[in-house]
Symmetry: D2
Subunit: 284 residues, 4 copies
């Protein structure tokens, strides 16, 4: 069996679902999962399908060609197709904090994540021993005020060389260059240690402490040019009280960050996220 995942969006209009499902059937495909959403404010239709085809009669390039000509052009569909066999390749960017790194690598090791990690990259050397202990290549790309663009080019070269599909910033403490953001639009996942849009920017736990909130949060989102303003993939929160010091908030927050980021990675890697107008549709 050959299994594919198909993501589609277009202006909402009658008969899309029947036309698409009919097209799959007429190509001897069987739909094993279908989910759809209509954004009524913007009148946009979104759909996610998983289909199975008999391998020896299915040629993905032929299917794509026919899909584009017989459906996409008629309904003005935007679409992406993925072979379910192919694990996406994820690059991990880290700095000095190790909790998200340990968490991701632990899940990776136990087979919980459907992806490959060709390398870990950092602007510091502190976490190299962890990469080594998990036998994952580690690249050190230091960044200074004057070498930012040069560093971005080094990063880009590594990403290209390893055919990276998406990037995860596991508490990577550097601004991502526009070059990378454009090259990997909606493919760079960040974990921000607050319940966005509250406490944008640096030191959110300090701000949360100062404001006296009774709940702290963490937010995973795609990186865009505007700081901490990209499409939100996943959020979670924990209750806190006046008895918690800033250090307590940071410790509680680490647990949130780990879970929120790993959930976002899973959703992205299994192609369950669509992005439109700076918001996500999550087919989970």
């Amino acid at each position: 069996m050959h299994k594919i995942t198909l993501l589609i969006h277009c202006d909402d209009q009658p008969n899309i679902i029947a036309s698409v499902t009919n097209f799959i059937a007429s190509n001897d495909g069987n739909i094993v999962y279908i989910d759809q959403h209509v954004d009524r404010e913007q009148n946009i239709f979104f759909m996610r399908l998983e289909c199975e085809f008999i391998s020896n009669t299915f040629f993905i390039e032929n299917f794509k060609y026919a899909f584009q000509n017989k459906l996409a052009e008629v309904f003005k569909l935007k679409w992406r197709i993925y072979s379910a066999e192919r694990k996406p390749k994820m690059a991990l960017f880290v700095s000095k904090y190790d909790h998200c790194l340990y968490d991701i690598l632990g899940r990776y090791n136990s087979g919980e994540l459907f992806l490959e990690i060709p390398f870990i990259l950092s602007n510091h050397l502190d976490l190299k021993p962890i990469a080594d202990s998990f036998n994952i290549p580690f690249y050190h790309v230091p960044i200074t005020k004057t070498t930012k663009e040069e560093a971005a080019q080094s990063q880009l070269k590594l990403l290209k060389k390893h055919h990276i599909d998406f990037i995860v910033l596991a508490r990577y403490m550097q601004i991502i260059s526009s070059t990378l953001i454009n090259e990997y639009a909606n493919k760079i996942i960040n974990i921000h240690h607050s319940f966005l849009p509250a406490f944008i920017g640096a030191k959110p736990y300090h701000s949360a402490y100062k404001r006296g909130v009774k709940i702290i949060g963490a937010t995973s989102h795609y990186i865009t040019e505007e700081l901490d303003a990209g499409p939100i993939i996943e959020q979670d929160v924990s209750h806190v009280s006046h008895t918690h010091s800033i250090e307590d908030l940071i410790a509680k927050g680490r647990d949130l960050e780990k879970i929120v980021l790993s959930n976002a990675i899973k959703l992205h890697a299994t192609r369950k996220v669509m992005v439109f107008n700076n918001k996500t549709i999550i087919f989970s």
Copy 2:
């Protein structure tokens, strides 16, 4: 526009989705919502569709006839169809506790619930003034040890007379008779004041207090012959601590009960619940 909701289940098999969507399209219907689930353990396929048809050319009896002959018999489908215009009729059974009753009637009054409440029934007279203040007919059907079956017949008569679609037990403190359970299979919604299957039976808050749990819960489920063992629709929980007395648990529990029951009512009334083998599929 005529809008219908279609619920289908059958043995899992290829081409169901395409066949159903194609059938809708060939009847000039437009699918506005589709969701499906496959139970891989039991190999059962479930689907929920919302479709729109142009009113003056759509005759629901014709549609049903064709659906049964062209699809249901071929795929051995079990199916139900609902006109979206028709609000389901819900009977409310209560005893002496008023918190769930107030909550439901408040939501009903504000238009939050897609349903009609033809009457409230109780084995006591205590809550009649509330029914009166919301202008809803109130029937008093007292129950004694020797009048149980007689009472069940009175209840059944009222339910039939008012064309009741489903029953909600809003802390109704009586065992429901088999007569009613059979007549309204998977159509009697109960709220149990614990996180089932923990603390089945009477006085769950007392049992929770005694066991020293750190979380209490509430569970809404369909009534079956076996006590507190029917299909679960909705559950929620609250954190508690050693500082909470039994009375505190009861007070905190009231808030859980209200929300869990009203959520279950909403899911049922909008036909988002399917039941199979004592479990629910919730298309929400």
Copy 3:
């Protein structure tokens, strides 16, 4: 038995706890509850005590006099004392939304709230029938652009006349005048329909929808001069998804608002809240 609640704060210093507990004992009082907190950033000590005294030998004015002279002046304590018998008097301000009002009055009726509600006040007449059905006096104080200060004076007069201890804004849609804020500092409780400090100001559910958050919240806080920036008493959240419309967020939010506001009222009415430097200490 005469029962009192004592709230104390001062600069942190040795021997406060022993001195206070010793003073209670030497006055033949028995401490039935003690809790304390030290804000290590600001070096401030906070304590809450509940004590019982034998009624026929206890005179609260004598106790206060001795406490002030023997303890408060020595340690430079700021303190408040409450007789546990005396229920605080709460004024309810509302506009047109009824869900918080229904929720509070339902709890009030069932004896869940330790307080009295001498009156409900509104700038509209819409909710008068609800006040009537619960037999609570209702005052209509309309507000126009030019009558704001005049309205504030009418409000103040009513508050004084009824010896109101604290005010609850149950979705009251008007800015509170500085006159009232100063007169009732840290005694006006608001419910804001977002997870503050996210989405300050009007239409937070619309902003939450636009930003695409995966969690919505509600916040109860004391009113200060700065909009939505007062000390936070209680917060809670609900998970949402791309499938929720703005109307869905508003409906889900109503449930949050009810619970968060009623919890804040309970904490305030039982004197479990202390405020310092725009943050709350909650002794719960």
Copy 4:
């Protein structure tokens, strides 16, 4: 400064708080934390204090002697005292699952846990490499049907030799012998992968799946002779739906288990847990 933690319980009676705090003060101690609880059902008083003494005039043995004679005998107090400097020694028992082990060792390494881990013990060799990579001694104590008591003796010998204060069963898949349970009463912490008392015993995720619950949980508790019936320290839950397979429940459950167990460890290690009549008082 010498810092101690004092845990006290006794029959509830007047003047305990004042007497204890006065005793501390008369020994030149300063109370920096006090919390208390009265179990009104059983009429038992519980208190936890943290006190500071000037080191060169404080002798803990003298203090204990005086405390026993002047207070404990008068009020019939049961009490325990801990020097805050001394980190408790924790033994980790594991079998083949590594997620809790990784989680605990990660927190241990980063300084999040106030304790020492003298050794890890297992009935299998699978996790030895993890112990090695964290430089913690690993003992292999295999268990067969006929060697259970022999194995218990080996375990006990290791525990004694290393002066172990408490034991954590991080998914250790063996029944603990009565010998150990008696020797370490309320000092053996287990993580059970369900929301107890629901789904006692083996394969709780399978039972949860079968019952169709909408929430799964994890429970950390002290081991007693009765299976999964010991005092509960900490519980947490996650929402699930019909879309989750048993494998999904197990994966989601791993995250719960890690957090619930590490929270229980933190509470125990900082002496915030008291046990009475098979329930815990948590001073957090």
